[in-house]
């Protein structure tokens, strides 16, 4: 299609077209970035859930809300359909290496021989086998409801942490629940583990893994020998035996069985977790689109104004066509085609711009932004739906301009 306007108007017409395309591209780039990054992150999380080595998770309201984690795990482990029960406590602590200051770190307390079976195939490859923690069952330090036994003082650290502070296996570091080295306990690095892409930033990358009871004692989520213990955990992850893990009905029965044991905690299956995540993702996508609709509305209003302006600028050309007898539908078709062409070019430009923005963030962004961008998922169908939606709306813009073209007074236009 040739742009409207004559030789003298061509540059002006081109400038209008470029501005309209740029406005649409800018309006489209935002939803492309938001939807692709949001969708990518959501898909990544869903993938993690689908590939997890456990099928049921127990959680409680409040921070570190599960009490009596060791004994609870033992009772669940006694169920015939269960192969592993892994209580997990996650606490932000401070690490001291040499004479340096406090390093914020995320510590995870686990029961080593229960933790490994609840890892999915991808996660499992990140950890050494068996976990080189000196108290595999966490039963030595945590001795029948008290913390009488000796602490192992073994810790695994993430490879980014080990690289950043040159901490080879065998090196020593100090761990403290507060940023005060005088309250720290000395630990020995017995191994390292990899860190998958995530959104926890430096704290997540600087992670530690140690026996649950060691972390509980260090952080005060357990009391001393002879005193009733809190024995706290955040979640308890339950792995079912093979035949049950893939059978939804049997999993539901297991879930009910566990719920009966812990009526005061929330027991959910990963399928439910995935559904909740998908639901949350849908809400977020809707929110992204609502946010983007502001920009899209501005872009479409701009497109409408440009098309109206072009009808006004080309009123003589339109008048000549109609005077000759060119049918109104042909004039309308020309205006609509112009709108659709500009909107399509703008949409495609917006997709390219969005892609470049996301790739730039993935290459040069910092921290969590970079990691989120690197997970972006450009789904062709979603992008096509976006383009079609915009093209559909551009027909409205074109319709307004076409109406204006049809209402031209011929005698006036040819004067």
């Amino acid at each position: 299609m040739r742009l409207w306007g004559g030789h003298g108007k061509l540059r002006h017409g081109r400038l209008q077209a470029i501005l309209a395309v740029a406005a649409m591209a800018t309006a489209v780039a935002l939803p492309v970035v938001l939807i692709s990054v949001g969708g990518g992150v959501s898909n990544h999380e869903l993938g993690d859930l689908e590939n997890a080595g456990y099928q049921v998770v127990i959680s409680a309201a409040g921070l570190h809300g599960i009490a009596h984690a060791h004994s609870l795990s033992q009772r669940i482990l006694a169920l015939p359909a269960v192969t592993a029960v892994s209580p997990v406590l996650s606490i932000a602590i401070d690490t001291f290496v040499g004479s340096g200051g406090a390093i914020p770190s995320l510590a995870e307390g686990i029961v080593p021989d229960q933790f490994a079976p609840t890892l999915g195939p991808t996660e499992s490859g990140l950890f050494p086998h068996p976990l080189p923690l000196g108290d595999p069952t966490d039963a030595i330090h945590y001795d029948n409801g008290t913390y009488a036994g000796p602490a192992s003082d073994d810790v695994l650290i993430s490879s980014p942490f080990a690289q950043a502070y040159s901490l080879p296996v065998g090196s020593r570091l100090m761990l403290s629940p507060v940023a005060n080295e005088s309250q720290a306990t000395q630990y020995t690095v017995t191994g390292t583990f990899g860190v998958p892409l995530g959104f926890l930033g430096q704290t997540g990358a600087f992670a530690l893994l140690l026996p649950l009871s060691n972390l509980q004692v260090m952080t005060g989520y357990a009391n001393g020998s002879g005193v009733p213990v809190v024995d706290a955990a955040d979640t308890v992850e339950v792995a079912a035996v093979g035949s049950i893990s893939t059978n939804p009905t049997a999993l539901s029965a297991l879930q009910a069985e566990i719920q009966a044991l812990v009526p005061y905690y929330s027991v959910s299956s990963l399928t439910q977790e995935a559904q909740q995540l998908e639901s949350a993702s849908s809400v977020l996508t809707g929110f992204y689109l609502a946010l983007s609709s502001v920009g899209l509305t501005v872009g479409l209003v701009f497109l409408t104004l440009i098309l109206l302006r072009r009808v006004e600028t080309d009123r003589r050309s339109i008048g000549i066509r109609r005077a000759i007898g060119v049918p109104g539908r042909s004039v309308v078709g020309g205006v609509l085609l112009e709108g659709v062409t500009l909107a399509s070019l703008g949409s495609l430009g917006g997709i390219v711009a969005g892609y470049v923005i996301v790739e730039s963030l993935a290459a040069w962004g910092s921290g969590a932004v970079q990691e989120a961008a690197s997970l972006a998922d450009f789904v062709p169908l979603t992008l096509l739906e976006l383009v079609l939606g915009i093209v559909g709306l551009s027909l409205l813009a074109g319709g307004l301009a076409a109406r204006s073209a049809l209402r031209l007074d011929l005698a006036e236009a040819l004067r």
């Binding site: 000759i324 007898g325 060119v326 049918p327 109104g328 049809l406 040819l414």
Partner: protein, 234 residues
């Protein structure tokens, strides 16, 4: 396609008022009655603003009358819908505007093809007829030139070729030589005369130029929205 035939064109008590009822109301035509027989060459003369172009626009169905009727072959056509009037224009009327009014984004050939495209003439036929017309107006070799690459005379020749493209029975020319020098004026008038003679079309010429008016068989003079003289040559 055979040439369209417009047996007769008629205005009956036609008035045309712009901005009716407002302070700046303009009564461009004030009760005009006129009948033009097929094949006539009619000149319309008169001072600026006397209603010549309005008369032409009404006859060519560009503009509906405020009062009265426009008839083609005895049938009232002036107040038909936009769509119907567009179809009648496309099939029956060729316009030649004073300022050429070529579409600047189209080449000379594309401008000539425009009415044929709108009428749905097949491509091969369009090409053949546009080539013939461009030859006829003496512009062979200039088919691909855009209007801004043509001289004033060449532009008007393209406009004439475009007006003839659908073989109209009624040719309406609004000061067709108003912006041309004497050489180009003669060439255009000779061309129009030849075309009119060949096709037996009705030709209405609005002009200020006596040499143009001399080519007509019948001379209308207008003043203040009325026809004040209607002279037929013997």
């Amino acid at each position: 396609m055979n040439a369209s035939v417009v047996p007769s064109v008629e205005l009956v008590h036609v008035q045309r008022t712009y901005e009716s009822g407002k302070a700046d109301e303009v009564r461009a035509l004030r009760g005009v009655d006129l009948t033009i027989a097929p094949g006539e060459i009619v000149s319309i003369e008169g001072p600026s603003g006397c209603g010549k172009t309005t008369l032409l626009n009404l006859l060519g169905l560009l503009d509906p009358p405020s009062v009265g009727e426009v008839r083609w072959d005895g049938r009232s056509v002036g107040s038909r819908t936009d769509r119907e009037r567009a179809r009648l224009r496309l099939e029956g009327v060729g316009f030649i505007f004073q300022r050429f009014y070529l579409l600047p984004a189209l080449t000379a050939r594309e401008n000539v093809e425009l009415p044929m495209r709108a009428l749905g003439v097949p491509r091969a036929e369009r090409l053949r007829r546009s080539s013939d017309l461009i030859d006829e107006v003496g512009l062979s070799g200039r088919e691909r030139a855009f209007p801004h690459q043509l001289s004033g005379g060449e532009e008007q020749r393209v406009a004439v070729a475009r007006a003839l493209a659908n073989r109209p029975g009624l040719l309406l020319a609004d000061e067709p030589t108003g912006e041309l020098d004497s050489t180009n004026t003669d060439a255009i008038l000779t061309l129009l005369g030849r075309v009119q003679a060949d096709r037996k079309a009705t030709l209405l010429l609005v002009t200020h130029n006596p040499s143009v008016a001399r080519r007509a068989h019948r001379h209308l003079t207008m003043q203040d929205g009325q026809i004040v003289a209607d002279v037929r040559e013997a």
